[in-house]
Amino acid sequence: MRRTMLYLPGNNPNMLTRGYLFGSDGLILDLEDAVAMVEKDTARILVQHFLRQGEFGSCEVTVRINGVDTEYWKDDLAAVVPFPALQGIRAPKVDDAKTVKIIDEELSSIEEKNGIPLGRTKIFCLLETAKGIWNAYDIATASPRVAAIIPGGEDLTADLKTSRSSEGTELDWARRMLVFAARAAGVDPIDTVFPRVSDDAGLRKETEFIKQLGFEGKSVIHPNQIPIIHNVFNPTEQEIAKALKIVAAAKEAAERGQGAVSVDGRMVDIPVVKRAEYTLLKAGLSEVK
């Protein structure tokens, strides 16, 4: 599950130590925007030590590296990829499939050198420009390592030559496009951060909107945002009860050798069963399957 992926500044020992305690599904140890240029070296070493010895609970651990247009990205990858705690890297400013391929090649080379199974390190692509959004499907299918694509917030807005509004009008099309591209490619669409950290109502509204669009989860910049997003993404009691009923009916039908079955007057076929199973998975009841 990737309902919430929390950014932790890569040069902040306090957050790196306590980050996993906030209960997000994933963590992003950030070597990019959260780290000052003059501290890139110390942040990289600190993150490396945390990957070697740190505690992350059951969180999916990723590191946001610096962009391929900087002098840092190869050193970032070399420092973090060898550690089993790392599950993926979040690559900023991915504009096209070529960028993914460049990163893929570098990852393969590091994995090979370190005796790591080829392809273990996933790539989470940040699409922060109009070009990146336009190329979303090509990016998502550029490598089997791609696990998710994420629209940019501030950078994308700047590239569109507009500004962030509370309604998010400027990101509307990009978000819809990104969900289509991700789903078509079989990767997760994960939303950008909600920047107004004290606006809980605004966060809830935006999360409800992006959930309805088809997003799998959201990037998070403040721990207080996590329970609100989980609350929106978690299935309601009613949804769980319905899903349990559908899955049980489908199981029974399968045992009797029947395909479709009716539940509460509605025909239940494979897509409905799949959705119900997914609801149970999100509710932590996947063993029902």
């Binding site: 902040n12 020992p13 130590t17």
Partner: protein
């Protein structure tokens, strides 16, 4: 004398200052700050381990601690020494 620093005085961090020392003078470690009185021995041990693992024999090291865990202390010392070797900052 070349000097380099890494870390901060923020909570759970430490500021490590390292200076070149004359050959044969060995490793000198100074510790001050919130955990110094309780954890001095453990911190000195960690510092000595990191320095040794980097192949450095003669160095002066000063740690201003603000509750850094072992893992943070190790990272800050490594960063400071790398900066020193790389020309300081």
């Amino acid at each position: 004398m070349n000097t380099a620093q890494a870390g901060t005085l923020e909570s759970m961090d430490c500021l490590v200052t390292v200076s070149e020392a004359a050959p044969g003078t060995g490793v000198k470690i100074q510790i001050a700050g919130s955990s110094a009185s309780r954890f001095r021995t453990a911190m000195e041990k960690k510092a000595a381990e990191v320095i040794a693992s980097m192949g450095v024999k003669d160095i002066e090291l000063s740690i201003q601690d603000n509750g850094a865990l072992d893992i943070v202390l190790g990272a800050r010392i490594e960063a400071a020494v790398k900066r020193l070797i790389g020309g300081g900052r």
